[in-house]
């Protein structure tokens, strides 16, 4: 049987903008993925421990409240602690270009801004999982 892509999706911190992530969550389901949706107000610890228990291939976060520079590095740190650094961490939202560059350079996967076609993110995830998790 073919293994399904499992993706944990969450809104970290106090950011209440959940429209985008909800759109993505249903699109990913419709693309055949098993989406574990955690909802709002998630701490980095909650997110990583969910990804661990769910055997997720991908952690996907949405951040529109300017907290990305603390959230993403912290998550990477805990992923290492919990020995799941082989999971892809991606995200999107309102993130300035220069921050995207520095975060991606520090080991975070791709980050997407407003107006991103959903299929582009699906292709990226699918290819990454094929290459790195099988």
């Amino acid at each position: 049987m073919e293994r399904k892509i499992r993706i944990v999706m969450a809104k970290p911190g106090l950011d209440g903008h959940d429209r985008g992530i909800k759109v993505l969550a249903s699109a990913y389901r419709d693309a055949g993925m098993e989406v574990i949706y955690l909802g709002l107000r998630q701490t980095p610890e909650m997110i990583v421990s969910a990804a661990l228990q769910e055997d997720a291939d991908v952690i996907a976060l949405s951040s529109l409240n300017n907290a990305h520079n603390t959230i993403f590095p912290r998550i990477i740190e805990i992923m290492k602690e919990k020995e799941i650094e082989d999971v892809l961490l991606i995200g999107g939202g309102i993130i300035p270009k220069k921050d995207i560059e520095s975060l991606e350079a520090s080991g975070v996967g791709k980050l997407y801004g407003p107006g991103t076609p959903v299929n582009e993110t699906i292709d990226y995830i699918t290819n990454w999982v094929k290459k790195n998790r099988r």
Binding site: K4, E34, Y37, L38
Partner: protein, 316 residues
């Protein structure tokens, strides 16, 4: 990918539990190498099923029950099942939204599953996932079924004790309730009892239950809760503990486990046979036959006979 050692399951290593569950879920051939070794723990925990219509508050109630068990020094595993899309095979698993405050507690392990087409409210592999959680030392395993209407009977084959969650608006469901659902329930919870109509549905349900006689003369309790605030949850928890103890003493628990065991054998036979049956050749044959069919005039059994030809020899 990282190394997997099944022995890490016994020391509650989440990485290993997590991998093992995926292997079971995906029918990985490696499972056969360790399953017999973990199986011997599978009857140690108590398995509790929570079922009921969509949105009744099952996850919220489970969340509150987890807290009760933790306060009682019990470790808890949760298997939360949501529907898979029949079209894409994907799933939106949202039960965890209500159970997010245990991430720091190593003695709580929550796993979401898509039902992957299984119609009985569970996933085909839910029981085996329970076995892995059992081997990791969990005292209690809670199964939350897909929110289905009245067909969630598979929970009986997975749980020692079944809770059916209803809401004040479930009036019609209660009226229509078939004997089946009454027999699966050990405890009814009218959740959202902060809403009007909860007393009325409670009374109706009690009346119906008294009119139905079950084979062992057991009448399930009817209790109420507001899962969001926790009102009534402690009483429900106490009732669960007391009833499970009673079941244990009366031999009822053992009887249920034996029944489950037998049903599981039957289910595994079906699964095995299906696996053998739909090999590449037969899938091709099916495609060939059905692609040339342009009318539904003939009974489907004529095609079934063609597909079944020689199958008996293969099985031997």
């Amino acid at each position: 990918m990282k190394k997997f050692n099944y022995k890490d399951i016994f020391i509650n290593k989440h990485v290993a539990i997590s991998r093992a569950i995926s292997m079971v879920e995906n029918n990985d051939s490696q499972v056969a190498k360790f399953y017999d070794k973990i199986y011997k723990y599978s009857n140690e925990p108590v398995r509790i099923g929570v079922t009921g219509p969509p949105g009744a508050g099952k996850s919220t109630l489970v969340d509150k029950l987890i807290s009760c068990f933790i306060n009682d020094n019990k470790s808890v595993g949760v298997v939360a099942i949501d529907p898979s899309s029949p079209f894409s095979g994907g799933a939106l698993l949202g039960d965890r939204v209500r159970m997010s405050k245990y991430s720091e507690n190593n003695n709580v392990y929550i796993r979401s599953m898509g039902n992957r087409g299984d119609l009985g409210g569970l996933s085909r592999k839910a029981q085996e996932v329970g076995d892995i959680l059992a081997a990791s030392g969990k005292d209690i395993i809670i199964f939350e079924t897909v929110g289905v209407g009245q067909a969630e009977h598979d929970i009986v084959n997975a749980a020692d004790f079944t809770i059916v969650v209803l809401v004040p608006e479930s009036g019609d469901e209660v009226q229509l309730m078939k004997a089946g659902i009454i027999e699966i329930a050990d405890l009814f919870v009218i959740n959202k009892s902060d809403r009007p109509g909860s007393k009325r549905i409670e009374r109706t349900l009690v009346d119906i239950l008294h009119a139905v006689s079950t084979e062992d003369g057991f009448i399930p309790d009817v209790m109420s809760s507001v899962a969001t605030t926790g009102v009534g949850v402690k009483q429900i928890f106490d009732k669960i503990i007391r009833n499970i103890q009673l079941f244990d003493e009366s031999g009822q628990l053992e009887k249920r486990r034996l029944r489950r065991y037998k049903n599981r054998i039957k289910a595994l036979v079906v699964e095995k046979l299906e696996g053998i049956f739909w090999d590449l050749n037969r899938r091709r044959l099916f495609k060939n036959i059905t692609s040339s069919i342009d009318s539904v005039a003939n009974p489907p059994n004529s095609v079934v006979r063609k597909l079944l030809l020689n199958f008996d020899k293969e099985v031997k």
